[in-house]
Amino acid sequence: MTSRYSYGGDEHIFVECDEAMSLDAFFKSLSITTAIRAAQIKGVTEICPANASFQVKFDPDIIKAEDLKREIQSIEQTVGAGQSLLATRIIEIPVLYNDPWTHETLMRFRDRHQTPDKTDIEYTAAINHLDGVEGFVKAHSGAPWFVSMVGFVAGLPFLYQMVDRPRQIQSPKYLRPRTDTPKLTIGHGGCFGCIYSVRGAGGYQMFGITPMPIYDPNQQIKYLRDFMCLFNPGDIVKWRPIERAEYDEIVADVDAGKFAPKMANVSFSLDAFQKDIDGTNAKLMEALHGH
């Protein structure tokens, strides 16, 4: 995996760790950007890890592009193939699949979708050879997902399913993007899941909705008081399917300031994961449930 460096105008260095998505490429991006952050290089103003690449914004009046590039390259050498060990947390996200709000929206934009006669879940289940909606929910919520990037809009996590490639759910984006997506929609495009943090345009397939806000610019929601965005790159997410009654209950609890997301600190080893995917995921689940 050789990284490709390019300047994004006079203020950015863009580094592609790999053209294709993989956990290796993501770990490389995350470990290099973590090391750049720790190096506290003068003139660097933004350090943005992404799925299989990263970007550093700098002030060329303070540091020359070529000097910064050299520093990043030397950090890349030191970090090497990456610390494959990550201290992070696992967060449980309740999901109402097939909810009325995304259903209303997907019906409204059916002319922009691949299949006018199927819902997004039915379509994605079919092209991934899953057994209908039920089989889809099982596959989607069965294993945890990595937050491999936060962005597009404020606090929106891109999620990478922690299973081997043949089991990863894949789906194209809408043929033409929608002009509307309900807030907190669980979406999917390519191999990536996401949670739409705010209402707005979008092109990902829509599978469900979570009652749990992940972005609060007013910082009124209890668990978002310290910071307005819930997610950081490297977090691990586990979906939990819920029914409508529990959805309503959680919405009320959030409003009343009584809801706290279920989460646990975990350490994740990429090597261990690649040797035994299901075993590593089972241990993550034990940590989440406090065993």
């Binding site: 994004g8 592609e16 053209e19 103003t45 799925n51 299989a52 610019p217």
Partner: protein, 322 residues
């Protein structure tokens, strides 16, 4: 000390020089699209260059003052009027308590920066007073202004009336505008011929042009170098594994209409980019109206830095004369 919004204009927001440091979680820098004009407007009224001002797009607001203040309007040619009496742009003037600041129709450019002595005093959120409307963050309640809003003003000594910027020091885009860009990022995805067309063709600003990004139309569609799609990228030749988008980066979904991301940029996504408009020319994009003509010109890092220094020298010259 406040101003009351009688009419909000088309899209008027509170902006300063922006909110760096949170792009990695999707919160863009925001701030004035034309930072050159924003800084100059502030200096004209005796403010620090990064004080919060109003950015008015295409159509000016109507503002009632509850105290005396010095005002200056820079950037777009949006002629100010105090109680109906015309005032000059790029020039400081006084507004007395009870008077109303209005505007004539736009004569050139797209965004006017209305600086008021003391600055607009909205709460500082993550280090800035700028409005990021997509995230409902900062500015006045995270949104564009509406009739009836009341904006507090900070304390400021103000400045003398009639301070002005010489014509030759005012910076506005030419027609057609040349946007200098550094090819890079995923430039290798298009063929050599497509690369030539991109610079040869005349482009026009599309109606979809806002603080997030400016879309351009009119050039020939670009042809891609064939490839096997990398895992996770998507099947369209313009797709990449979702990556970060630099400010000023030029993405071309489907190879047809280039979009230049601006101060409220979406921080990342799955479209390839052919390069990045240089920092010195981002101000100019903020002054382009829909249907305005533009061409892209290829420059090197050295030329980009020279342009950056020219812009800074011009700013310094204005600051030193005021």
């Amino acid at each position: 000390m406040a101003i009351r919004i009688v009419k909000p204009g088309l899209s008027t927001t509170v902006q300063d020089l922006g909110r760096p440091g949170y792009y990695h979680i999707g919160i863009p820098i925001s701030g004035g699209m034309d930072r050159f004009a924003l800084s100059v407007a502030n200096w004209l009224v005796g403010n620090p260059e990064d004080a919060a001002v109003l950015e008015a797009t295409f159509l000016g607001p109507e503002l009632e003052f509850t105290s005396d203040a010095t005002v200056a309007v820079a950037g777009a040619e949006l002629p100010p009027k105090v109680d109906g009496e015309p005032r000059e742009t790029w020039t400081s003037f006084n507004v007395k308590k009870g008077q109303t600041l209005g505007f004539d129709f736009l004569k050139g450019g797209a965004r006017a920066y209305i600086a008021v002595s003391g600055g607009i005093d909205v709460p500082v959120v993550l280090g800035s007073r700028s409005t990021y409307t997509l995230g409902a963050l900062g500015g006045f309640q995270g949104r564009k202004l509406a009739a009836g809003d009341e904006l507090a003003l900070g304390a400021g000594a103000g400045a003398a009336e009639g301070r002005t910027v010489a014509d030759k020091l005012r910076r506005l885009p030419g027609a057609p505008t040349e946007l200098r860009m550094m090819p890079g990022l995923y430039w290798h995805r298009i063929t050599e011929a497509a690369g030539r067309y991109f610079f040869e063709d005349a482009w026009k600003v599309a109606p979809e042009a806002d603080r997030i990004g400016y879309r351009f139309r009119g050039g020939r569609p670009l042809e891609f170098v064939p490839r096997e799609p990398p895992f996770g990228a998507g099947s369209d030749p313009s797709n990449i594994v979702d990556a970060c988008y630099p400010y000023g980066s030029i993405q071309i979904p489907g190879g047809t209409e280039p979009i230049v991301l601006h101060r409220d940029a979406v921080s990342g996504g799955g479209y390839f980019m052919v390069g990045t408009v240089i920092s010195a020319d981002l101000d100019l994009i903020g002054q382009l109206q829909p249907h305005a003509g533009a061409r892209f010109a290829s420059v090197t890092m050295e030329q980009a830095l020279a342009a950056r220094h020219d812009r800074q020298r011009l700013l310094n010259e204005i600051r030193d004369t005021l």
